[in-house]
Structures are given as structure tokens and as C-alpha cells.
């Protein structure tokens, strides 16, 4: 069987998880560090309602940029995120079936689950689970959410995060992410590098050299203030967008090494405090203000 192109990997996963009853969403239109930040994961993991969704999320990690010179590191990459709440009893089997759909035969390849407990200090979230190793390479993070925004998750959400580039690199047997075949167009093969290499070079330069740190500090403060204002107005969704933007400003400051070790902790705590306030507000309206839930 020919290896799937990058976009076929996404299509296969979309097809598979749609058949599992997931709502197929599109990426969040804000800069985030991980698919977990998407409200479809972070906020939907809270409260009693069932939820199942799948989506691709571009992730921005400014410190991981390498100007397009490292075959494995990118300042922006794709996660394929699946959330299932409550987790079905056979959620692991469903996951492994998705790998079969991608052409990975578990009787040929060494697949295994290696303990990896996930924690997001900025989101006040943690869970227990594994890294999934495919012949020793981590291709997925699997997490049973226990807490988000400082609140207990009940029922429990299972979060499956595929590293799309790694998975595709494995399937296509290429050593550089930029060599990945994205698709074959009439004018020829389009590779990951054709789509994103220039972006990696320019964005790395911005992240490491040109991002205006004074402006970022200011943006962080402004987003924080705006988030607090919106939380007070009982508008958790727009408040949460401000939290994500504050978090991205922090990530850029981190890449510019503008934050000292001790300050770093303080900034993380400030984001977490906001995320917790949003989480509380998101869960609260049903009980406190039924009219808001109707609106």
C-alpha cells in the first residue's frame, strides 16, 4: 500500500472519527500552543454534558523554531485532536483501529503505551495517560482528563492528540518534515517544505529577534485586564480568547528570553488564575443564571 499523503492522513482520521460519532470541527482561529487550548477541549471537558469532537489544530511554539534548519523542529505544527466524553470503555481499541486505518499493522510494528502523565500549568489541568510509541517513536499523547481549570472533570474526557507530522513522516519514511508529501497536484508533488519552509524561516526570525517585547508585555497585561473584565461580565467565551492571547504573548516573551526564571513562574500563575476563573464562569451559568444558558 502506498503511504498516505499528509492531507490523506488528515482525511483518514476525519473519516474514521466522524464514524465514531465525533463532531468534526475546524481549527481555532487563534494562536495556541496545543490543541488542548481549543475551547472544544478545555471548556467542553468541564461539566456533565457528553461531547465528542475531532479537529486539526495548528500549534505555535515559538521557542521550538529553528529557522527551518532542523528536520524535526517547527515553531508551528499540526496536532490532530480527538476528545471523547465520557470516554468509551473501548477508547484504546478505537484509537488503535485508527492506526490500522492509516495502514499501521500492529502485528508488524511495535506499538505500546508508555506512562506519561500530562499537566498544563497554565490551564490548571492535568490527567493520566500515555505516550503511544510506534517502534519507539512517540506519535500520540493519550490522556484521561482528571482536572481542567482547577475543576474536577466528571465525566472523564479522553483526549487523543496525534502528532500529525511525526506520524506522516513515519508513514512516508522521510527523515525531514520538509520532505513530507502534502499532496500531488497537477503541477507536481507539493511537499511540506513548499507549504511551510519559508514560514518557518520568517516566523523564527520574528519570534527570536524581532518580536517587540515591550509590546508583548503590554499585550499580556491588556489581555489579562480584558479577560478579568469579561469574566466579571459573565462572558467566559470571549474572556477565554483573551486568556489564550495572553498565553501566546507569554510564549513569545519566553522565546525572546525576556522573562527571568522566577518571573516565569509568576506569569504562568497569572494565566492559570485567569483560566480557572474562566472555567468557573463556564460551569457556573446553569446553576446561577438559567436565563444566560438559554440565551
Amino acid at each position: 500500500m502506498a503511504a498516505p499523503t499528509f492531507q490523506e492522513v488528515i482525511q483518514t482520521l476525519n473519516h474514521y472519527w466522524a464514524a465514531q460519532g465525533c463532531v468534526l470541527l475546524q481549527p481555532l482561529d487563534l494562536e495556541v500552543g496545543a490543541g488542548t487550548f481549543h475551547p472544544a477541549t478545555f471548556l467542553r471537558a468541564l461539566g456533565p454534558d457528553p461531547w465528542a469532537a475531532a479537529y486539526v489544530q495548528p500549534c505555535r511554539r515559538p521557542t521550538d523554531g529553528r529557522y527551518g534548519e532542523n528536520p524535526n523542529r517547527l515553531q508551528q505544527y499540526y496536532q490532530y485532536q480527538v476528545v471523547l466524553k465520557p470516554n468509551p470503555d473501548d477508547v484504546l481499541e478505537r484509537y488503535f483501529r485508527s492506526l490500522r486505518e492509516l495502514g499501521i499493522d500492529p502485528l508488524v510494528h511495535d506499538l505500546r503505551l508508555v506512562e506519561d502523565n500530562w499537566e498544563s500549568p497554565t490551564l490548571g489541568a492535568w490527567g493520566l495517560g500515555w505516550e503511544v510509541w510506534l517502534n519507539g517513536m512517540e506519535v500520540t499523547q493519550f490522556t484521561y482528563f482528571q482536572q481542567a481549570g482547577g475543576l474536577e472533570c466528571k465525566p472523564v474526557t479522553a483526549e487523543i492528540t496525534y502528532g500529525l507530522e511525526r506520524l506522516a513522516m513515519y508513514l512516508q519514511d522521510v527523515d525531514s518534515v520538509f520532505d513530507l508529501v502534502w499532496t500531488t497536484a497537477p503541477h507536481g508533488v507539493v511537499r511540506y517544505g513548499d507549504v511551510f519552509h519559508r514560514n518557518e524561516v520568517e516566523q523564527s526570525a520574528y519570534n527570536f529577534e524581532h518580536a517587540d517585547t515591550r509590546e508583548m508585555f503590554h499585550r499580556f497585561d491588556a489581555c489579562e485586564a480584558e479577560a478579568n473584565k469579561l469574566i466579571a461580565l459573565n462572558l467566559p467565551l470571549p474572556a477565554y480568547e483573551q486568556v489564550m492571547q495572553a498565553s501566546h504573548a507569554f510564549n513569545l516573551l519566553d522565546a525572546r528570553r525576556a522573562i527571568s526564571v522566577t518571573e516565569r513562574q509568576r506569569y504562568i500563575l497569572r494565566v492559570r488564575t485567569l483560566a480557572q476563573a474562566v472555567a468557573n464562569e463556564w460551569v457556573a451559568p446553569r446553576a446561577a443564571q438559567p436565563e444566560a444558558a438559554n440565551g
Binding site: 502485528l107 510494528h109 511495535d110 505500546r112 465525566p155 472523564v156
Partner: protein, 719 residues
């Protein structure tokens, strides 16, 4: 059919590898205790613990089908409360009988310390084991020491990982029960991929074989052996795989069906320090590195797959691929780090907090360099070839590698990378080695720093840590020892002793404490220190005494492990030798002395001397300096003793002079042992407590001089 094996297996999603062994043991123990508590006969001594990444199981042979008869006894009211004046039952007694479901006349009586009372005794038939096992299993499961329990689905309960099946078999019978929402049965599950169909277990004893047929090795010991055999099978000729116990444990708990895959990486990566490559392979991938006969890492490595792959070449290809970017990262870190001289990181150390009150890592580095240099000067004065400036230089670099990228990625390489970078950047071999060795001993059984230069830094670093952390009041308590001070204290003592460094511990502790900022001391505030200079001084003395006692506690264990007795240790500790090298030499002399035939008698004589002096309230040390008046020696026995003692003292002068290393404590003790006869003769013939104060004084002084002569080595009376 009197007894059969009992099997309980809890099937889970993949367990945390570091918890599997403890959980399996605890589960087996819980089940065995549950059986014992209920009096169910079972061959607990032969219980088998099984555990794999996906199951915790225990098989107990010889489990009876019922409990023995149960004898129950409930105590009722005392006779004086139970019966009225007419011997009729009171409400209390009728109530008790009613609760017991019997007539009061059927109750028996018993007598305890407070008098006669009614008692209800009942014999009930034992319950069936099958009725009791479900609660035994539940108690055992709920009692497990789970580090981080988790919930799943919409359930209220929590366990180490989600539970999917439960086997409870007694002989060939299923015991009906439920655990974590799963009903018991006789169906287990095999290897996740190689045997997806359920495994039908005919009876409890067929468990291990049936599971092996389903590609699961349930016995952890068998799995470990399989891994060793597999590693040996694929090891390249002439190569030595390094599979230590820690890695073996991890691999055993990561695989149900281990199969080794021989692999190789690009030999170009061998330019990177091999410690970094080995750490990458082990910590990140659980690969087994392969060395040549000289201990050099080669390009071969071995991966353990949890699968008998239909195409092992694809697994190998995967393993070889996954290590490449990791090694590339290591190479990148190494190359990048080499561009920055170590010393340039000193500036950055100012931004890294060591401990709030004790300042930054740079503050600590400055203190350590100062102290290390002082130590080197003392050693130089003793004729040891060490350059204080070089020592200070090494100490100044000692923490710099913490800020390199490699150590940032692999903290366990601290020191090791310092050595590599220093060597590559033109530092002397001694300085480079010191950056690595000063951390030693890193674990129990590790040697001390080898070079004198490294030893100076090592001592200084440990002294500063002990002094500083004790000063802030964070000394270890119970099993809490976040700064690993116990290891550090023993490491300090061992470095003195095994390095033969004859330095005064108290003096060095004072030096170390003098550098700890005034505001640090527990319970003190900076504002107070200027006006309370005296109390800071007291604090320093108090902490010095605490650290000293702490070091001696570790030292006692160290010597007792080597076969010295607590008495021998106490005998030397009592005379407070200034240096630990001196302490060591004395202890060895005392131990040799204790093996001699008259040691016990001499110890007894010393005890007698000590008792007399204590009763008289005499300070032996002061009294011994008074000197004996020969004119007052009336009795022949005391004259003999005085002459013999002074002769022994003269003989011992050269033995006990000079530096500790040259002292002949064993010879001195042997010489003093010759006083046995005169001492015995003295006690037989001479009355110490003479009426004449002058005579008495003279005799007490004689005894004090004997004690002082022994105390120059150890307090033999304590043996």
C-alpha cells in the same frame, strides 16, 4: 476436594511501569492477609505474584473451600448490674440477651479482673470461601498504594488505570464477584495484538501456561530472564550489552512478550560524549547500549519490542530512525555548548536560585570556592601537593555546566558534561575531572572523588550545603531529605577518611558557617542580627554541633556496616578526635585491641578508674596534669604502678606525636595493656580513699593519669 488454588487477576489498561512491581506485591499481600484474617486455610507461603503491564494477579495454592467453625463471644453486663437483689434479671441483662437472640438463662458466665459477668458464646459454621473472596479482593484492591489514582468514564471510583476484566477462580470454579464495575469470570486477555481473543482459563493452576500460550509472560521473573536471554541472543560478537537492573525492571514492566531487536546507529555520533548518548538511549527510548571490552560505547544497541513481529526489519528500521533525531539533538547541544566557555555561565548562575535564604547558585559557588581554597591551603601546609588557586578556579566552574543546553536536557549529566566541556576548552585534566568528581559519592557504593583537587572542591561543596541547609532549619526528618543531606554527610566523612585528609572537622565547619549570611539562621531576622551579634554566634555554634552530630550519626552506620561495634565507635567518639582520619586510625586500633585476650579486663579496670574519678567529682584531664608526688607513694603497689605508668607514657610519646597518619595507636594501646598487672596489684593492695587528703589526692591523680593515657587513644571504659 479439600483445597484448591485461588487465582485473582485484575486486568487493566497499561500500568505505570514504576508502580507495577509494588502494586502487584501489595495486591498479593492484601489477598493473603484477607484469607488469613478470615481463618481460611491457604498455602500463603507459596503464593505467586504475577504482574504485567496489563494485569495484577495472585495465585494462592491450597485454599480451603470453607472457613473453619467460627467461635464468637460477646461480653455482657457484670453480675452486680445484670441481676437484682432477688437474683432476677435486670433490663440490662434482658436487653443483652435479646440482642444476642437468646434467653438469659442460656447465657454463660465468665470472670475477669472486675468480677463475674455474663457472656454469650456462639459457634457458627464457617462461610464458604467463594462468599468471602469477593470482599477479600475488594479490600486488597482498595488498599493498594496507588501513587496517583485516576477516574474514568462516568464512574465515581478510582484506580491506577481503567479496569477491563476480572478473573476469580478457585480450582476450576468461577467465584462470582465484581470489582470496579467489572464482573468476574474465567476469561482473561492475552497479548493486546498477538492474541486479541479472550483466554479461557480451565482452572487457577493453568494460568501461567494458558497465558504464555496467549503470548503473555505473567511471571515477572520469567520475563526478566527472557529479556536477558533475548539481549544475549542479538548482541553483536565482542560487544557487551549494558543491561542494569533499573533498565531491566523498566523493560520487564513495559512488555508482556519481550523480543530483542539488534540495531545500530551512525558511528559519527560517537563524537558526542558517550554518557550523553547512553542517557538518551536509556532514558528516552529504553534501549540497551552495547560497549566494547574497554568500556567504550559502540554503534550497536538493542531494543526490546513487545511483539514477535511479522517483519522485525521494519521494527529495527523504526528504532534506528527514532534514535537519530535524538542523537542529532545531543550533538547539537554538545556543539552549541562548546561555543561558550564554561566560565561565561558564571554570570547566569546569579539568576538561578539555590535556596531562598542562601542566595543564588553563584553565591554558593563563591562560598565553595573560598572554602575549597582554604582547605587546599591547609593541605598544602601539611606537605600535600595542591594548588589553592587551581582549586578555587575549579570550584568557580563547578556549577557552570548546569546552564549548558545538554544538562538542561539531561539533568543527570551534571558534572559529567562539566568535565567534557572543561577538557575541550583547555582546562587541565585535574580541573576537568574535579568538575565531575566533586559530586561523588553519587550513590551508596560509589567511590569518593579521586584527585586531591577534586576532593577539596567536594569537601567544600558538601560542607557548605550541610552548613547552609541546617542553618535554614531544613535538616532531614523521617523520610524527607530533599537535599540528600544524609548521603552528603556520609560522603563528606568518607572523603576525609578514604582520601586520608587529616583536617579538623570542627574548624572547617566553623569556616563554612562563617560564610553563611547572618540573616539565614532559622528564627533570625536580618534586622535583628546587627543588634544581636551574640545570638548569631550562638546560632552558628548550635548549627555546627548539629551538623557534627549528624555526620557522626552517618559515620556510626558506616562503621557498623564494616563490622565495628557501637561500643568501639562510642569509645573513640568520647575522646572527640579533631579529624576523621585520626578518628579512623583510633577506631581501627581499638577494634584490634578489643580482639586481644586481656582487653576485657583492661576495660573493666578503666571502668573502675572512671567510676572512682566520677564519684570524687574529679576532672580526669585536669587532675592528670597535676603530676604525682613520688614522696607520697607509700605502698609498694602504687610505686610499681606509678613507675610502670610513667615508663609507658614515655614509650608512647613518640607513638602518639606528629600527624594523625603517622600515629601508632595500636602500638600505644598494646604498650598500655602491659599496665594490666600493676593496675590489678594497685587495686588489690592500695586503698585509694585514704583518710590523709594528701595521700588520697596523690592516688586520685595517679588514676587520672592512667585514664588520660588511655584517653589519648580512646575511652576504653566504654568497650
Amino acid at each position: 476436594m479439600a483445597e484448591r488454588s485461588l487465582l485473582i487477576e485484575i486486568g487493566c489498561e497499561e500500568l505505570p511501569i514504576h508502580a507495577v512491581d509494588d502494586l502487584a506485591r501489595a495486591f498479593a499481600q492484601g489477598v493473603c492477609e484477607g484469607l488469613a484474617k478470615r481463618g481460611i486455610a491457604a498455602d500463603i507461603g507459596h503464593a505467586c505474584v504475577s504482574a504485567t503491564p496489563r494485569r495484577l494477579a495472585v495465585r494462592v495454592p491450597g485454599v480451603a473451600f470453607t472457613q473453619p467453625e467460627q467461635h464468637n463471644e460477646s461480653l455482657g453486663p457484670y453480675a452486680n448490674i445484670a441481676l437484682d437483689a432477688n437474683g432476677q434479671p435486670t433490663k440490662a441483662l434482658l436487653g443483652f440477651a435479646g440482642k444476642a437472640g437468646t434467653d438469659w438463662t442460656q447465657l454463660e458466665r465468665t470472670t475477669d479482673a472486675k468480677g463475674e459477668r455474663f457472656v454469650h458464646r456462639r459457634v457458627s459454621p464457617g462461610r464458604a470461601t467463594a462468599e468471602l473472596v469477593p470482599e477479600i479482593a475488594r479490600e486488597a484492591a482498595l488498599g493498594l498504594p496507588i501513587p496517583k489514582p485516576m477516574r474514568w468514564g462516568d464512574h465515581d471510583f478510582a484506580f491506577v488505570r481503567p479496569v477491563h476484566w476480572l478473573v476469580m477462580l478457585h480450582g476450576d470454579q468461577v467465584i462470582a464477584g465484581e470489582l470496579f464495575g467489572v464482573r468476574s469470570g474465567r476469561q482473561s486477555r492475552g497479548h493486546r495484538f498477538m492474541h486479541p481473543a479472550p483466554v479461557h482459563l480451565a482452572d487457577a493452576d493453568s494460568y501461567v501456561d494458558a497465558m504464555r500460550a496467549a503470548k503473555v509472560l505473567t511471571d515477572p521473573g520469567e520475563r526478566r530472564q527472557r529479556i536477558r536471554d533475548e539481549v544475549a541472543r542479538v548482541a553483536p560478537s565482542g560487544g557487551t550489552p549494558r543491561l542494569d537492573d533499573a533498565l531491566l525492571d523498566e523493560l520487564a514492566n513495559l512488555n508482556e512478550w519481550p523480543v530483542a531487536i539488534g540495531c545500530a546507529f551512525d558511528a559519527d555520533f560517537l563524537a558526542v560524549p558517550q554518557e550523553a548518548l547512553v542517557t538518551t538511549m536509556r532514558a528516552n527510548q529504553k534501549f540497551v547500549p552495547v560497549f566494547d571490552t574497554e568500556g567504550r560505547l559502540g554503534e550497536h544497541f538493542i531494543g526490546i519490542a513487545n511483539l514477535d513481529s511479522k517483519d522485525p526489519a521494519q521494527v529495527r528500521h523504526g528504532y534506528e530512525r527514532v534514535i537519530r533525531p535524538r542523537f542529532s539533538d545531543a550533538k547539537y547541544f554538545f556543539d552549541e555548548d562548546l561555543k561558550t566557555p564554561l566560565a561565561r555561565h558564571q554570570q547566569g548562575l546569579r539568576n538561578v536560585t539555590y535556596q531562598k535564604a542562601l542566595g543564588s547558585l553563584w553565591d554558593k559557588t563563591v562560598r565553595v570556592a573560598e572554602l575549597a581554597s582554604a582547605i587546599a591551603q591547609r593541605l598544602f601546609a601539611q606537605g600535600i601537593d595542591v594548588d589553592a588557586a587551581q582549586v578555587a578556579h575549579a570550584a568557580g566552574l563547578s556549577r557552570c555546566d548546569l546552564l549548558t543546553r545538554m544538562v538542561g536536557e539531561f539533568p543527570e549529566l551534571q558534572g559529567v558534561m562539566g568535565r567534557h566541556y572543561a577538557a575541550a576548552q583547555g582546562e587541565s585534566v585535574e580541573v576537568a575531572n574535579a568538575l565531575d568528581e566533586f559530586y561523588r559519592p553519587r550513590h551508596a557504593g560509589d567511590g569518593i572523588a579521586e584527585g586531591v583537587l577534586a576532593q577539596c572542591v567536594s569537601l567544600a561543596d558538601k560542607l557548605d550545603t550541610l552548613a547552609g541547609i541546617f542553618a535554614v532549619g531544613m535538616k532531614p526528618s523521617g523520610n524527607k531529605d530533599p537535599f540528600a543531606l544524609r548521603r552528603m554527610a556520609l560522603g563528606l566523612a568518607r572523603t576525609f577518611i578514604e582520601g586520608g585528609l587529616d583536617l579538623e572537622l570542627d574548624v572547617l565547619l566553623q569556616d563554612a558557617l562563617a560564610q553563611i549570611p547572618d540573616g539565614t539562621f532559622e528564627g533570625m531576622h536580618e534586622s535583628e542580627t546587627s543588634v544581636r551579634d551574640g545570638s548569631v554566634r550562638d546560632s552558628r555554634a548550635r548549627v555546627a554541633a548539629e551538623v557534627r552530630a549528624f555526620v557522626f550519626d552517618r559515620l556510626r552506620g558506616y562503621y557498623i556496616e564494616q563490622g565495628f561495634t557501637p561500643q568501639q565507635f562510642a569509645a573513640v567518639e568520647a575522646v572527640r578526635p579533631a579529624s576523621l582520619v585520626d578518628f579512623d586510625r583510633r577506631l581501627r586500633a581499638v577494634a584490634a585491641f578489643a580482639r586481644q585476650p586481656d582487653a576485657e579486663r583492661l576495660a573493666a579496670a578503666n571502668k573502675r578508674v572512671a567510676n572512682i574519678l566520677r564519684k570524687e567529682g574529679i576532672d580526669a584531664d585536669a587532675a592528670s596534669r597535676r603530676g604525682i608526688d613520688p614522696a607520697l607513694l607509700r605502698e609498694p603497689a602504687e610505686q610499681v604502678l606509678a613507675t610502670a605508668l610513667e615508663a609507658a607514657r614515655m614509650d608512647n610519646l613518640p607513638r602518639l606525636g606528629g600527624g594523625a597518619a603517622g600515629r601508632d595507636y595500636a602500638g600505644a594501646l598494646t604498650r598500655l595493656a602491659q599496665l594490666q598487672g600493676p593496675v590489678d596489684g594497685f587495686f588489690d593492695a592500695v586503698m585509694v580513699m585514704a583518710d590523709d587528703p594528701a595521700l588520697r589526692n596523690n592516688r586520685v591523680t595517679l588514676l587520672a593519669r592512667i585514664k588520660a593515657s588511655f584517653d589519648a587513644i580512646a575511652d576504653i571504659a566504654l568497650l
